[in-house]
Every structure is written in structure tokens, then in C-alpha cells.
Amino acid sequence: MNGELTVSAASKDTLPTVFGYIGIGLAFGIVGKAAGLSPLLVTLMSIITYAGSAQFVIVSMLVTHSPIFSIIFSVFLVNSRMILMSTTLAPYFKRESMLKNVLVGSLLTDESFALGMNKLNYSDSHLNFPWFNTANVISYLTWIISSLVGAVLGNFISNPEKFGLDFALVAMFIGLLYLQLISDRSINFNLQLIVVGFVLLAIYFGLIFIPSSLLILLVTLVACSFGVVMKHAFF
């Protein structure tokens, strides 16, 4: 990764995350097909809902014939972390038009957000529309195509987990977290480590009584507050 904010730089920067989308997209297509969704519906969900892990939640709730409002509410909870991510990202696009802001927001994902946050460390804290939109569109198309392929292949592969592909996303979070830790100089390194340790404890104990759909958002909010308090008290 370097400081360039061009379409070709974005394509290079996004390449590693593409593998994550292919792995999980294929898995989603296979799971959706196995649950009884047609390849058409699988693909429509990837185009319209476009919500990664939440799409697995939708399929499992459809299978159990959950009421539509409880499905929509669960998806809202799982994706409410998007609000935090777009709030963090939006100030960097203040000078771009409203349409471009909405376009960047519409296709924002955990991964493109994390890539963008990493890019800031190389680009002198700047982001622009061509770079971010390219990262977003590559991710979007890869996700749609892989879930369609997964749904079509679904008849032949019964156990996608066997290949370890579902770990691609987790590996990506590990990689992006590490790269963020070593390159973000705006927050003291030890303070960042302390916040990461706090998140580990909060997730572990939170899992006892907080549904996992809500946990990521709550832990993030509490960990950010904890970080601010620690920063003022000790750093």
C-alpha cells in the first residue's frame, strides 16, 4: 500500500480482500442453496441487502419461518455498526458531492472501511472518491458473482467449511488490525494494545449475556469510550 489515491492503486490495494469475498461469497451461495433458496434469490440478496454475515442470519431465520419484522430488526442490529463506520469515514468526503457521498456509503463494508482507515496512514490522512469507490465496486461485484457461483455449485459441494475458506474473513480482520496497529501514529501504540485487550475481555464476558447480533456494536462503543478515558488519564 502507498499514498496514491488512484483507480489502479485502489485495485491493487483491494486485491487481498477479494479472496475473502470469494471464500465467504461461495460459502453463502452454497448455504443459501442448501437451505432452499434459488440462485436468483441468493443473487438478489447479495445485490440488494449486501450485508455479508447478516445474509447468513437472514437465511437461517427464513428457514425457521421467522416473522419478517424480526428478520429486519435482527439485520438492523447486526449492521448497526455500519452507522459507526460511516460516521468515522464521512468527514473525509465532506468536499465531495452529496451523490458521491451516498455512493461511497451505499457500498461500504467492514473490509473497505478497514482498507480506507489503513490507507489514511499512507496518504497523509486523505481519501477520495475514485479510490474508495473502486475498492467498493470491486468488493460488490466479487461478492455478487461469488454468491451466484456458490448457489449454482451448491449441488456439487456439500461442505464448504472443509477447505478453510471461511477463515479468509477472520484472517483479513487480523491482518488489517495488525497493519492498523503498526501504522496508525495518531494513537499511542501501547494505548491501542490496551484497547485491543479490553475488547478481548469485553467480547468474552459479553458473550455470557448479550446476543452476538448486538455484541459487536456494544463492545465497540464501550471500547471507544474506554480508549478515550485511558487516553486522558494516562497518555
Binding site: 480482500t17 460516521t87 464521512a90 478453510g164 477472520v170 487480523i174 497493519l179 471500547a223
Partner: protein
């Protein structure tokens, strides 16, 4: 599986709430300025969210009890972290991660 129309309606409904979560901050922040305190708070979002998404995958939830450990993901995380430290290259990290979990599952027969 429910009818085609029910599924389609679900897709559109979940699509709308997801889209709104994604774009409303962009629309609002075009007009409003965040205070310094909020910006400081948000500066912790990237590491907090990424570590939360990772750690959630290391455990299996049992409401009312301590979570159990997802050994496959935990063991596969070790070479993945090491490859991150050595290579500092996202592509290498992802490939090492996938291979690691594949090997862990094969060895442990999970």
C-alpha cells in the same frame, strides 16, 4: 422455505435498513460538523471493530454461561498473526490464514 414473494420482501426490507445505516451519517455529516470529543471517540472505532470481529470468531456462545473456545479458529489465528508480523502483507496473511485453518481441520479431523 417461505414463498418467493416473502423472501423477496425480506430482501428488500433488510436492504433498506442496511442502506440507511450506511448512508445516513454521510448525508448528515455533509451539513453538520462533529465535535472534537466525538472525533476522538471515533478514532478508536477501527481497532475496536476489527478486534471485536476477530475475537467474536474465537468463541462459541452459550447464553448464561461462559463461552467455549472455537479451537479451529484460535489455532489458525496463531500462524496468521505470525505471518502478519513477518510479512506485513494482507494477501500473504489471508492465504496463510486459510491454509492454516484447512490444515488444523485436517489434523484435528473437525
Amino acid at each position: 422455505m417461505p414463498s418467493f414473494n416473502f423472501v423477496l420482501l425480506t430482501i428488500v426490507g433488510t436492504g433498506i435498513v442496511t442502506w440507511l445505516s450506511r448512508i445516513i451519517p454521510f448525508v448528515l455529516l455533509k451539513k453538520f460538523q462533529l465535535s472534537k470529543g466525538v472525533i476522538e471517540f471515533l478514532s478508536f472505532v477501527p481497532i475496536a471493530i476489527m478486534s471485536a470481529l476477530w475475537f467474536e470468531n474465537l468463541f462459541v456462545q452459550h447464553i448464561g454461561q461462559l463461552p467455549s473456545i472455537e479451537w479451529g479458529n484460535l489455532l489458525a489465528s496463531i500462524p496468521t498473526v505470525i505471518s502478519a508480523i513477518i510479512s506485513k502483507n494482507l494477501l500473504v496473511i489471508v492465504v496463510v490464514g486459510v491454509i492454516s485453518l484447512g490444515v488444523v481441520r485436517m489434523v484435528l479431523g473437525m
